[in-house]
């Protein structure tokens, strides 16, 4: 069963289906777009994000590669040098690591090293993060490895309609994009019309306005933050939730405007806290909003451990309760430390 032809009217659609639609529409509109990776052809990918695409667009547009991630990214670089716009899939987060040299030393740097003469419009799709009962090496949140690497755009998505838009924008971008898909949200549905209209690729979005605290997050934990916001009203906290969407570049404008207003901020992500993405958010908020902050920016993150096995992952993942715990520690009574 193919999920590539959705009606244009609002209808319940999963993130997986929305991403599939984004690929289909990009393939249909731009003949330079090709899709490659392990099992993306006949099988439609282990998460079925490429379902039906090989049948519809043919094996010259969508195909299975040999099993080698450096090979996938390395050849995509060569294809992009020659006019194509490859969208490659890494099967799981930790299986992108063999491609790290190609990503870091070439994909990120080619435009720069050639003074802008060679651009590499490659999208590297990476299903990332945990929460699906996956065994070791299947649940890493590897965003910082990429956000720290100048030359890469890094994007996450959190909802079907935004996932559709972001992936289409990523494919249209002249820059290489690491596109992180929170696998535990693949099956979450939203009633939406998929369209390109909306915020640009680099913009963060306030997904829930609030007065008291700004909760900054992205990808898989946006839903968790919204849950916290809903629970928070019962405890008397009015949380503003920002979905960063673009992790690099960072949308300072949207985020600092919010934090200057609320005076308090919590950053949430699944990845380990130490040198995690939240460190950057906290550091730049302290720099840019120092005198507006009533409390330090707190981080709610995974522990500083390898991703745990399925039966323990619930302890590791940020929960709505843990977010509210952090909110309650934001020095509401101005205690000194």
């Amino acid at each position: 069963m193919s999920i590539t032809s959705l009606p244009a009217t609002a209808t319940p659609v999963s993130l997986a289906a929305a991403l599939n639609q984004a690929l289909a529409d990009s393939l249909a509109e731009d003949e330079r777009v090709v899709v490659l990776g392990e099992d993306v052809g006949t099988l439609g990918g282990v998460f079925r994000i490429t379902d039906g695409l090989a049948a519809r667009f043919g094996e010259e547009r969508v195909w299975d590669t040999p099993l080698a991630e450096s090979g996938i990214v390395g050849t995509a670089i060569g294809m992009a040098m020659n006019g194509l716009r490859p969208v490659v899939e890494m099967q799981f987060d930790a299986f992108a690591y063999p491609a790290f040299e190609q990503i870091t030393s070439h994909l990120a740097k080619m435009r720069n090293r050639t003074g802008g003469r060679v651009e590499l419009p490659v999208v590297v799709r990476i299903p990332y993060g945990g929460g699906i009962g996956g065994v070791e090496h299947h649940c890493d949140s590897s965003e910082v490895y990429y956000t720290h690497t100048a030359g890469l755009r890094v994007v996450t998505c959190s909802t079907p309609s935004d996932g559709y838009r972001l992936l289409r924008q990523a494919i249209a971008s002249p820059d290489p994009v690491i596109f992180l898909e929170p696998k535990r949200r693949y099956w979450s549905k939203e009633t939406a019309t998929l369209s390109l209209e909306g915020p640009a690729l680099h913009q963060a979005q306030v997904v829930r306005p609030g007065r008291d605290v700004t909760v900054i997050t992205y990808g898989g934990t946006v839903a968790t933050a919204l849950e916290a916001a809903a629970l928070g009203t019962e405890e008397g906290y009015d949380l503003e939730v920002i979905d960063l969407r673009s992790l690099n570049p960072f949308d300072d404008e949207t985020v600092t405007a919010s934090v200057r207003r609320t005076g308090r901020a919590v950053v949430v992500h699944e990845a380990a806290g130490f040198c995690g993405y939240g460190a950057e958010v906290a550091a730049r908020l302290s720099e840019q909003c120092f005198h507006h902050l009533a409390a330090p920016v707190l981080r709610v993150t995974g522990f500083d451990i390898p991703y745990p096995p399925p039966k323990l992952e619930a302890h590791h993942l940020p929960s709505a309760e843990r977010i509210l715990d952090a909110v309650s520690r934001l020095q509401w009574e101005d205690e000194d430390v």
Partner: protein, 368 residues
């Protein structure tokens, strides 16, 4: 031309000492007939016992997985001749480097069945002590274990220990750069390693034709200076004999050996996979006809001999123990998350553990 020069292409002779024979080595054919020198009956019965038990273990886990008692299971079904023929070719002092697919090899090496299941149940990443039976943790990042095997074997050599490392990998894993580096390091260092590629025709959904254009995967060996063999992987006699000889070769200081065993994965890639999307029932039926366990049974039955029946009872007992052992749902201790990140937990990890335990205590209080 004389008639000797016109003799048909000899499929038993490799065209170069490092190349495999053009046709896979087979000692027992699919009909159970001897076509080469099979191992002695005692060895065959050892193999047979392990195959009866291994098959039962595998089908039992598959059944439990269908009932939702495991997080995931990549079945060994159809590949028992490879995994068991190879595992039983190892000596006590040798090491096995298995993948996620090789639970039956791990079991055959002596690891407790419930310990094998720990990782697939989601309790912890590796459920057994690798040093106890000299079995590395089952490895998921493809081909990475090939390098570990080379390093371990080379260290043994440096330490003048008589240890061979046997590493298992799939046809798909041969495409990864690590396989190349491992074959090369092993050859240059003359490390005592046996590489056994279980070519089961697929890497998840991707068939061999999209994985390699080589005459065979065993043809890779010559590019490293490694002697290579192509064998029938559903013929446990061929696997056992070839791997045993390779272990001897490596132990004697002659360096690594590469073996490609042709076999088939009867189940889907894992329980999460839908194999009907990429392969035909007829193909599966064809391979079920070549079932490795039945082939050995036919051979043991030849001339009206009776194969022993006590192994079936042993296998049933093991299956019952597996069922019993996986009956209760286990909940690993959350404090275990922090204890083995470093030799000593850091101050930060101590704090994180205290916070978590505190949170759990508060939750329980709230619920009480």
């Amino acid at each position: 031309m004389t008639s000797t020069q016109e003799s048909p292409h000899d499929i038993t002779a490799p065209p170069h000492p490092l190349l495999p024979t053009p046709a896979p080595v087979q000692l027992i054919d699919p009909a159970g007939a001897a076509v080469g020198p099979a191992p002695d009956r005692e060895t065959l019965l050892r193999l047979y016992r392990a195959m009866v038990i291994g098959r039962r273990f595998d089908t039992q886990i598959t059944a439990l997985t269908r009932q939702g008692r495991l997080a995931v299971y990549p079945s060994s079904r159809g590949q028992e001749a490879c995994q068991i023929g190879a595992a039983l070719a190892l000596r006590a002092q040798d090491w096995l480097f298995p993948t996620y697919r090789d639970s039956v090899a791990v079991l055959t090496r002596g690891v407790d069945p419930l310990q094998v299941l720990v990782s697939f149940r989601g309790d912890w990443h590796c459920g057994y002590d690798p040093y106890e039976h000299r079995v590395a943790p089952q490895c998921t990042p493809l081909a990475t274990n090939t390098l570990h095997a080379v390093g371990l074997a080379h260290a043994a050599r440096l330490r003048r220990e008589d240890t061979v490392a046997l590493v298992l990998l799939g046809d798909g894993a041969t495409s990864e750069g690590d396989t190349h580096e491992a074959l090369n390091f092993a050859a240059v260092w003359k490390a005592p390693v046996v590489f056994l590629v279980q070519n089961n025709g697929y890497a998840i959904s991707v068939p061999l034709a999209k994985q390699s254009a080589a005459p065979s995967l065993a043809h890779k060996g010559i590019g490293y200076g490694i002697p290579s063999h192509l064998i029938d992987g559903n013929d446990v006699a061929a696997v056992h004999t070839t791997v045993s000889e390779a272990v001897q070769h490596a132990a004697a200081g002659h360096g690594p050996v590469l073996i490609e065993a042709l076999t088939y994965r009867v189940e889907a890639h894992t329980n999460a996979d839908d194999a009907t999307r990429y392969r035909q029932d007829e193909e599966v039926a064809f391979w079920l006809e070549r079932d490795p366990l039945r082939r050995l049974e036919l051979f043991l039955n030849r001339d009206g001999q009776e194969p022993p029946t006590e192994f079936a009872a042993e296998a049933e007992a093991l299956a019952a123990a597996v069922r019993a052992g996986t009956n209760a749902d286990t909940a690993p201790d959350p404090a275990g998350l922090f204890g083995h990140v470093y030799a000593e937990p850091t101050a930060a990890l101590h704090q994180q553990q205290a916070d978590l335990l505190d949170e759990i205590a508060r939750d329980e209080e709230a619920r009480a």
